[in-house]
C-alpha cells in the first residue's frame, strides 16, 4: 500500500517547476517597479537641478533673484535641527526602550503602553506639528526656533526609535545575560556591558533611519510657522531658522510665479539627498566598526 503515486508526482513536477520560475519574475517585477519610479524621480531631479548647484548656491544667502539665491541658511537650519533631534531621541528613545524591555514588569500596564507607542508611530506628522505649536512654540514660549522644531521632530520619531531599539535589545541572546548575572553582575552592569554593546549596531540602524525621516519632514514645520524668508543664518538652538524641506516646499509653491524656482527646488532636493547619504554612510561606518569589535 503506497500513498505516494510516483507517476502522478512525475507528472506534476513540470508544473511545479514552471510555477516557481513564473513567480520569480513576478517578484522581480515588484522590485523593479519601485526602482523604476525612484530612478525616474532621481533622473528628473538631477537633470533639472544639477546645473544650478554651484558654490554660490551652497554658501549664499536667500534671494528673490534665482541667479543669486543660496541655501546655506537652510543647510545650517537642518544641521542644527539634526543635532537637537539626535540628542533627544537617542537619550529618551534608548532610555525608554531599556526601561520597557529590560526593567518594566510585563503586565497589563506594560502592554497598554506598548500598544500606545506603536499607535503613536502611525499618527500623521501634522498632528505632531500642532502639538509642537501648542506646547513648544506657545506654551513654553520658544517661538519658531531650532529648539521648538527639533523637539517637535523628536516627538515625531521617538515611537519609531523606541520600538526599533526594543527589538534590537530583544534580539540579544538571553544566555549572554544569564552568564553576566551568574557572575554577580547587577542589572545595569549587564545592560551596560552586554545588552547595549550587542544591540548597538541595530539600535543605530533604526535610529538613523528614523532620523532621515525627521530631516525630510515638512508638514510639522509648516504648522510651526517656520519661514523661508531672508533671515540671518542660525547660530544656536534659540535662533529662528529655515530648513531644507521648507525651502523646497516654498520654492515649489512659488514656481508658478518665477519659473526658475522649480530648478532651485530640484537643486535643494539634491543637497538634501546628499546630506541623507552622508548621514547613512556615517551610520554604516559606526555599525561596522562596532560589529568588528564583537
Amino acid at each position: 500500500m503506497q500513498y505516494i503515486d510516483r507517476l502522478q508526482v512525475r507528472k506534476r513536477i513540470n508544473f511545479r517547476l514552471r510555477l516557481n520560475s513564473i513567480l520569480k519574475y513576478v517578484f522581480l517585477g515588484a522590485t523593479l517597479s519601485g526602482l523604476v519610479v525612484l530612478a525616474i524621480l532621481l533622473i528628473r531631479t538631477v537633470s533639472q537641478g544639477f546645473a544650478w548647484i554651484d558654490w554660490n548656491f551652497i554658501t549664499g544667502h536667500l534671494s528673490m533673484d534665482p541667479e543669486k539665491a543660496g541655501i546655506m541658511g537652510a543647510i545650517l537650519g537642518t544641521f542644527w535641527l539634526m543635532l537637537v533631534v539626535i540628542f533627544f531621541t537617542l537619550i529618551l528613545g534608548m532610555g525608554a526602550a531599556i526601561y520597557l524591555e529590560l526593567y518594566a514588569k510585563k503586565g497589563r500596564v506594560h502592554s497598554l503602553i506598548q500598544t500606545n507607542i506603536a499607535n503613536l508611530a502611525g499618527v500623521p506628522s501634522i498632528v505632531y506639528g500642532i502639538l509642537g505649536l501648542t506646547v513648544f512654540v506657545r506654551l513654553m514660549d520658544f517661538g519658531s526656533t531650532v529648539l521648538a522644531g527639533g523637539l517637535t521632530l523628536s516627538l515625531l520619531i521617538l515611537p519609531i526609535v523606541i520600538v526599533s531599539s526594543q527589538e534590537a535589545l530583544r534580539a540579544v541572546p538571553q544566555t549572554l545575560g544569564e552568564a553576566s548575572y551568574g557572575l554577580g553582575a547587577s542589572k545595569w552592569q549587564t545592560i551596560r556591558n552586554i545588552d547595549l554593546p550587542t544591540a548597538l549596531p541595530s539600535i543605530l540602524t533604526g535610529s538613523i533611519l528614523a532620523l532621515s525621516r525627521a530631516i525630510g519632514e515638512t508638514a510639522p514645520l509648516v504648522v510651526l510657522g517656520i519661514p523661508a524668508l531672508l533671515i540671518p543664518f542660525p547660530g544656536g538652538f534659540m535662533d529662528r531658522f529655515t530648513a531644507l524641506p521648507m525651502q523646497i516646499y516654498y520654492w515649489t509653491l512659488d514656481a508658478a510665479l518665477v519659473e526658475e524656482y522649480a530648478n532651485l527646488a530640484a537643486a535643494s532636493i539634491i543637497i538634501l539627498l546628499l546630506m541623507l547619504f552622508i548621514l547613512n554612510s556615517i551610520a554604516i561606518y559606526i555599525r561596522n566598526k562596532f560589529q568588528h569589535r564583537f
Binding site: 514588569k105 544566555t175 545575560g177 551568574g182 557572575l183 554577580g184 553582575a185 552586554i194
Partner: protein, 276 residues
C-alpha cells in the same frame, strides 16, 4: 584542606574509618528546608530537603522535567529571572537564608558561580571573557587582571591552548574549549560553589572527558553541584547523588550506594534505564 587531599588516596582498609571522619569534616554548604517552587500554577519543586556538603561533587540526576535544573538555579537565585516564579521555604548557605529579602542575589552569585548547559561565552576576546567578573567587582589594575586571567585559564586546563591568542574573539574556540573558557570565567570570581547545569550535554565525547577531568580537579577547592542527564557521568565523578522525580527528591546518598543498592524501587528503575 591538605587532609582531604590525602583522604582521597588512602588505601582501602582505612577508608571505612576515614569515611566517618569525612562526613564530619565536610560541613554542609547548602541546606534546603521545605523548599517549594511554582512556575505560575505549576509546582516544579515539592518540599525539597537536601544537605549539600562542601568541597565535594554532588550530582543531581533524574528524567527531563523533574526539576533538577530548576533546583540548582534556586541555589544562586537565577530562577528569579523568570517572571512567574514563586518560591517558598528556606535555603541556608553557610548559615544564612539566601531566600530572605535582605540577601542580595548579586552577592550570592559572587560566591556561587554557574556554568550553563550550552557554552555561552560573551562576544568578546578570550581575555575579556575571563576578566569580566573581576572587572564587574571593581578590579581595574591590569597587572592583577592579567594574573587572575592566567590563573583561571590554567585552573580550567585551557591556558596552553589559548595563551597565544588571548585577544582573539572567544567565538573562534571549539565547543569544548568554549565550555572550559566559561568554567575559567566562573573561576575568575573565586567562588565557593560552582553550579553546573548539564555542562557536557552539548559536547563531544573527548571534550566531555576533558571537562570531567577538570571538574574532578576542581573539587579540592570548590563545592560542586552538577546536574546531569548522563548517569555514567554521575557515577564517574560525583561523591553523592540526588535522584529527582516529579519535583521531589526520591533518594539522596553516597553515589556508590545509590548506584549499587538504591533504597527506593523508582531509583532502581531509573538507573537501570527502565524509564526517563
Amino acid at each position: 584542606m591538605a587532609v582531604q587531599t590525602q583522604l582521597y588516596a588512602v588505601p582501602e582498609i582505612e577508608k571505612k574509618e576515614s569515611k566517618e571522619q569525612n562526613e564530619l569534616e565536610n560541613e554542609k554548604i547548602f541546606e534546603t528546608k521545605s523548599l517549594n517552587l511554582w512556575y505560575g500554577e505549576t509546582q516544579a519543586l515539592k518540599n525539597i530537603e537536601l544537605e549539600i556538603p562542601e568541597k565535594s561533587i554532588t550530582a543531581i540526576i533524574g528524567p527531563s522535567g523533574c526539576g533538577k535544573s530548576t533546583f540548582i538555579k534556586t541555589l544562586n537565585r537565577m530562577v528569579e529571572l523568570i517572571p512567574s516564579v514563586q518560591t517558598k521555604g528556606d535555603i541556608h548557605y553557610k548559615g544564612s537564608n539566601i531566600l530572605s529579602n535582605d540577601y542580595s542575589a548579586e552577592a550570592l552569585r559572587t560566591d556561587v558561580g554557574m556554568v550553563f548547559q550550552k557554552p555561552n561565552p560573551f562576544p568578546k576576546s578570550i581575555y575579556d571573557n575571563v576578566a569580566y567578573g573581576p572587572r564587574i567587582h571593581g578590579i581595574k589594575k591590569k597587572r592583577i587582571l592579567d594574573e587572575i586571567v592566567e590563573k583561571s585559564l590554567r585552573d580550567a586546563f585551557i591556558w596552553d591552548e589559548v595563551k597565544e591568542r588571548l585577544k582573539d574573539n572567544a567565538f573562534g574556540l571549539s565547543g569544548g574549549q568554549q565550555q572550559r573558557l566559561c568554567i575559567a570565567r566562573c573561576l575568575a570570581i573565586e567562588p565557593e560553589v560552582i553550579l553546573m547545569d548539564e555542562p557536557t550535554s552539548a559536547l563531544d565525547p573527548i571534550s566531555t572527558t576533558k571537562v570531567e577531568e577538570l571538574i574532578q580537579s576542581l573539587k579540592k577547592q570548590y563545592s560542586i553541584v552538577i546536574v546531569t542527564h548522563n548517569m555514567q557521568q554521575a557515577a564517574r565523578i560525583s561523591d553523592q547523588t540526588a535522584f529527582f522525580l516529579n519535583g521531589e527528591v526520591v533518594e539522596f546518598g553516597k553515589t556508590e550506594e545509590l548506584f549499587t543498592e538504591p533504597e527506593d524501587s523508582r531509583t532502581m528503575d531509573y538507573i537501570n534505564g527502565r524509564f526517563g
